[in-house]
């Protein structure tokens, strides 16, 4: 799953069309769109709006899902060409001077650059930096919910020293985002893959629910059960864990002790033939 945060509807429009996102009427605070693997929220302008929208989207998610996050939009740069896509490798909040360093672990097809978020539009450009008004709010919020490898900010240059921000229109914004769909796709796809990879690692064993249906486990015991069932699967045992094999234990505590004892007795072998 990936969550995309854009400031403007005109930034979102090319994505809505390309990814065939449907409006989600359940949300009234923000405009939200989605398909099976993607949610998009239009935050409005400014870092506070971006932070609020990010938190809103995170709060609406299932707590067990590891989603990727992408802030997508336009930014200014002193000398980069209009329409050039750049991934942020460092984010700075201009007001607080707080910094973030997204972990770029996926292959990327565009260059990367530092991105500074300002509170008010500025006429002057910073040296070797993109300038926007949302990214720091987005990142500060998203980093509460996800690790840095899955939170990124991709910007398309909309203005520079030769083409001022006053000349930007909704139409030109949509156009430069649309022109970069291939690059956007090349960022989104590996992020989806990493998110899926993390979800597989973190997901509880499918048999967990059978055990929970059989005994009453406290939250602490559920964690222990999750750990034991992971051990069971890691051992590549031929039989799958089943509550019926421990049915003679009347309490959850006794069942956990029995499962642990069973696992402690299992042989460990790193020899491939023996393990299979």
């Amino acid at each position: 799953m990936i969550n995309i945060v854009t400031a403007l509807q005109c930034e979102a429009r090319p994505l809505i069309e390309h990814y065939k996102l449907r409006g989600n009427a359940r949300h009234s605070a923000f405009r939200c769109y989605q398909n099976d693997e993607m949610q998009l929220i239009v935050s409005g302008i400014g870092k506070l709006a971006a932070a609020t929208a990010t938190t809103y989207l995170a709060a609406s998610e299932s707590g067990t899902t590891s989603s990727a996050w992408l802030n997508l939009g336009i930014a200014g740069h002193a000398d980069k060409a209009i329409g050039k896509p750049l991934l942020a490798h460092k984010l700075i909040d201009s007001a607080s001077e707080q910094q973030w360093f997204p972990g770029i672990v996926m292959p990327i097809t565009c260059d990367s650059e530092t991105l500074i978020t300002v509170d008010k539009p500025e006429q002057a450009y910073r040296k070797e930096m993109m300038v926007d008004m949302e990214a720091s709010g987005f990142y500060a919020s998203a980093s509460r919910f996800q690790s840095c490898e899955l939170i990124h900010s991709l910007k398309v240059i909309s203005d520079n020293q030769l083409y001022s921000s006053e000349q930007i229109t909704e139409k030109s914004t949509s156009a430069i985002i649309h022109d970069n769909i291939a690059t956007i796709d090349s960022i989104i796809n590996p992020l989806l893959e990493i998110s899926s990879q993390l979800n597989t690692i973190e997901q509880a064993s499918p048999e967990m629910y059978d055990f929970i249906a059989h005994w009453h486990f406290t939250t602490y015991q559920q964690n222990e059960l999750r750990h034991l069932l992971r051990r069971w699967h890691a051992l590549s045992l031929t039989n799958k864990p089943s509550p019926h094999d421990f049915a003679n234990h009347t309490t959850s505590k006794a069942a956990l002790i029995a499962i642990k004892s069973f696992l402690d007795e299992q042989p460990i072998s790193f020899n491939k033939e023996e393990a299979q």
């Binding site: 360093f101 996800q146 840095c148 992971r230 696992l263 299992q266 790193f270 020899n271």
Partner: protein, 332 residues
């Protein structure tokens, strides 16, 4: 190949920073005030970063040389370790680094001169004692040699310190610098081993046992003193056969004269690190076995530890004199 190189602003102009950056002309340089902003912050996933680690170039400001942990020694009275690099190019599933650090990025402290000065001072503090300096605690001593130029820079320091000894602990085949250098008597190149099938399953990216033995033979022929580290010993059903074969494989090829020391150590990981490691790799068979907790450390059961240690010790005694053996186990 690194995509990104994070550079502390303070070392941006350091000659070693420039030399390392020249090796990665396509990498993007990202400047930071302090390497901890990138390396130590919360909200990082070691496992994901291990797929594409970035390089961080920084300055180590203090504590360049530290006392080695209990049990981490080969007979010397004074044992120290120093880390010019944090993290390892290899990905051994039992390694405590993956539980200790939040980031899998490689940190290189470029101010070697400060490490060297601290080593000289530590050695000169006790001129009548022999001091051991271990370099492979937070990284593999040799694996990143083409980038770090570590041995080339540090061997001359030890060459002028007769009471100081250097241990290069490694699983690497990066021995070109050592083969070009004149061997010094106070340096031991110590190779770590587990039996082949365990190595294949758990030591990702590590050269095969055979390749490592071949590297040791070349070093031996060149005159370097060698160490053998079976630390940690990893349990599996029928471990006896694996370790017996490993010892035969190694000692049938190496000349006993060049072996300086052989050590055995049990698997022991601080509990917090172990929990982090299990959370990172819940599907890993190594962590699915039985472990006990003792004094904040996660270990195999005591009886199993003793069984493995006794077996391996007996086997080793068939190949080496007792005087070369050291048990790397913390005191009770």
């Amino acid at each position: 190949m690194h995509r990104l190189i994070y550079i502390e602003e303070d070392v941006a102009d350091h000659p070693r920073t420039k030399a390392i950056c020249e090796r990665f002309p396509k990498a993007t340089k990202v400047y930071c005030k302090y390497y901890g902003e990138v390396f130590n912050r919360k909200g990082q996933n070691f496992r994901l970063q291990k797929q594409q680690p970035a390089l961080i170039l920084a300055r180590k400001h203090k504590k360049h040389v530290l006392n080695a942990p209990d049990g981490y020694g080969i007979g010397g009275r004074r044992n120290y370790y120093f880390s010019h690099m944090l993290n390892c190019v290899y990905d051994c599933r039992y390694c405590f680094l993956q539980g200790m650090y939040r980031s899998a990025n490689y940190v290189i402290f470029v101010n070697y001169e400060d490490f060297q000065q601290s080593i000289i001072e530590a050695a000169q503090q006790y001129p009548d004692d022999e001091s051991w300096f271990f370099s492979g605690y937070d990284c593999d001593s040799l694996a990143y040699e083409p980038v770090t130029d570590f041995t080339n820079q540090f061997l001359p320091t030890f060459a002028q310190l007769p009471n100081a000894h250097l241990e290069l602990r490694t699983k690497s085949l990066q021995i070109r610098t050592l083969l070009k250098s004149e061997p010094i008597n106070n340096c031991v190149v110590a190779y770590s081993f587990t039996p082949e099938e365990i190595s294949k399953a758990l030591e990702h990216g590590v050269p095969s046992v055979e390749k490592r033995i071949e590297a040791m033979i070349k070093l031996q022929q060149h005159g370097w003193r060698l160490g053998l580290r079976f630390d940690p010993m990893i349990y599996q059903e029928g471990f006896e056969e694996g370790y017996k074969n490993l010892f035969e494989q190694i000692f049938s090829r190496l000349s006993p004269d060049s072996i300086h020391s052989v050590s055995l150590g049990t698997l022991r990981t601080p509990k917090v690190f172990h929990q982090n490691m299990v959370n990172l790799y819940p599907e890993e068979k190594l962590f699915a076995g039985r472990f006990d907790e003792s004094r904040g450390m996660i270990t195999y059961q005591k009886e199993l530890e003793e069984q493995m240690t006794n077996f391996c010790y007996d086997q080793l005694m068939q190949h080496i004199p007792q005087s070369l053996f050291f048990a790397c186990t913390p005191p009770e």
